[in-house]
Symmetry: C2
Subunit: 348 residues, 2 copies
DNA sequence: AAGCAACACTAAAGCGCTTTAGGCTTCATC
DNA sequence: GATGAAGCCTAAAGCGCTTTAGTGTTGCTT
């Protein structure tokens, strides 16, 4: 028996009004907890609505000024870069958890770059599609905060540094600088003096923050064999840079990779070059995931709770939508999980 | 200078009408390419709209029966399972590419399980939020097609087998059965007789299809040491099953893992147990990604173009939205990329 | 017993768009 | 020169909801 292709009209408030024998306005008041109806009527209306399986039409709601009940998230990355990134899906999953409670939808889009991203914001705004947005991968020289300010679109920036120039935006961030300092501390204590940081995308706020911190830490200790090299986060880049670094005259004894994928590729490359980890070179991955326990030696990694990160961001956005003030909240510093890929520097 | 918090009213058709000196209806006709206005008026209206930066309010459009210009995608997976899955983001990225051309939004939600997913469809439908949906991870005994049929929500099922019981749904699928047969063929030719398939989630349509095919191939050849073991796709499960399988009296000589993550974990486990790959045991990963080239030996893997898969699915959905007929389209069979993890069976 | 507030409820407008039903010109037709 | 048809455009209703203004009842006060 083929399922019936029922026309299945969605029930509207008018239907409820008719069945409950009251006016549409009464229904609206009753269902939205506004004063103006007696408790018994309210209850009756609620029951009818329930029984009819009524749900407010977001379109109608949005049109009468209530907002779209939707928040937006755009990911600006070339399609091939977004492969093996566990961080992102976890973040989204945390975001969802909070949004779902409030029946807020998540409009998601992936684009090629920041200019496209800005265009999407403009469109969403003009089309009335979203009530607010979550901005990821903030950059130094970022046009997005200005734009969002101009559009008056509530937004929370995920992973940026506090930004006092845009008091309208909330920021949720982790203290990468502190984490980097801690990592360098640890490596220094193990005797490492030549440290290379295989960084992520140049221009990303957190990349630059890590680079600056590393440089500062090096200067503070008088270290000269310390540098950062930016990449595109890909395994290929991780491998290539590792090859170059370990091939130099006085190769680094410690490598800090800005994600798990590059770290893995780096370890494989090092092994291929005859370097043993951690005897010849220590490796730290900035991002923990199942991957880090899938190779021998297990990778020491900076771990953070990305799901909770997402939850926090979403909570800030809903607070903003409720008319709350913009805030800057810091989530816990990533913790260094010491596994097997870090050890004393050779000869230390 | 702080950016101005401009109230920034969105321009409406009324604004255009006033500026162009015509009625609102004329504007609507002009902008939607309907007859009823002269070419010069149409052009004038278009220019004014452009100049004002007008974009139709999706809410208003949706309300007047035009649909929400949005399609939905819900991912039913426990939060911790969706970590390292490159397939999914690539799929989404392909989907986006097609949707973006048509200015269709993608409403995205992740939930815990299929019942929740059904609830989301109902809600989206009742709230008028989406015009159609993309369904992933079809199951044997799947309640979703019936539901979508009942709601009359256009949908395309991604990765299912053709389903003649739901003529309203489009299906986009790859021939897993064919791929499995080819893999077994190859392994058989290499002398493998004891083959274990570390499968994915039991109940998923493609999991069951692979299992059935493997069983049929084994029977056809009179092989007895062939079996499938279902898992939850996690690296932990991959490792655990591998340990069990290789610890048996007459261990398998070839392992087929239903994703790259488990394959990786499997190889690591095998190495830990003293098995050398591929000398002692061959490994095939059903899903190719950067991971497969990040361990030695490089993993032989079944590769497919997930981005294109997503594009195809999205194209089918837009066709459906345009009133086209439901179709069943097959994307290319995954190709086996032979790398270093497969070889002749010991003693063959 | 008139006056008044308080309460429960309804009528109607409005959000921004589409669409149907005309109205008014113009031009061709016989 | 009346009749029609065609073409361009406007008025108005309607989509499903919120909200403001307003209408009747009560029940209380003096």
């Amino acid at each position: 028996m083929p399922a019936k292709r029922s026309p299945a009209r969605r029930p509207t408030m008018k239907d409820i009004a008719r069945r409950a024998g009251v006016s549409e306005s009464a229904v609206s008041f009753a269902l939205n907890g506004r004063p103006g109806v007696s408790d018994v009527t309210r209850e009756r209306v609620r029951r009818v609505a329930e029984q009819l399986g009524w749900r407010p039409s977001t379109a109608a709601r949005a049109l009468s000024g209530e907002g779209a009940a939707t928040v937006g998230l755009v990911l600006a990355r070339p399609a091939d870069t977004l492969g093996v990134d566990s961080f992102f899906l976890q973040l989204v999953s945390g975001i969802q958890e909070v949004l779902a409670e409030r029946h807020l939808g998540l409009l998601f889009q992936v684009v090629e770059g920041v200019p496209d991203e800005c265009a999407v914001y403009r469109r969403w705004w003009a089309e009335h599609r979203v009530d607010g947005v979550l901005v990821v991968d903030p950059r130094t020289e970022d046009p997005r905060p200005d734009l969002l300010d101009e559009l008056g679109l509530p937004a929370v920036v995920i992973g940026g540094a506090p930004d006092e120039r845009h008091p309208g935006l909330s920021t949720v961030w982790a203290d990468d600088a502190g984490a980097m300092a801690a990592v360098v501390d640890g490596l220094y204590a193990l005797g490492h003096r030549r440290i290379v940081h295989i960084a992520g995308l140049s221009g990303l706020a957190h990349t630059e923050r890590r680079i600056r911190t590393l440089r500062a830490e090096a200067r503070r200790r008088g270290l000269t064999g310390v540098e950062s090299i930016t990449t595109d986060y890909s395994d290929a880049a991780g491998a290539a840079v590792t090859r170059r670094v370990l091939g130099s005259a006085a190769p680094a004894t410690a490598l800090i990779y800005d994600n798990d994928v590059m770290a893995l590729a780096g370890v494989a490359t090092a092994a291929g070059l005859g370097f043993s980890v951690p005897a010849d070179v220590s490796v730290v991955a900035w991002e923990d995931s199942a991957l880090c326990r899938m190779v021998k030696p297990w990778l020491s990694a900076l771990s953070r709770d990305s799901v909770e990160f997402g939850r926090t961001a979403a909570r800030e956005l809903t607070a903003l939508l409720d008319g709350g003030p913009a805030r800057t909240v810091r989530v816990p510093v990533p913790r260094l999980i010491e596994r097997e890929s870090t050890g004393a520097a050779r000869g230390a």
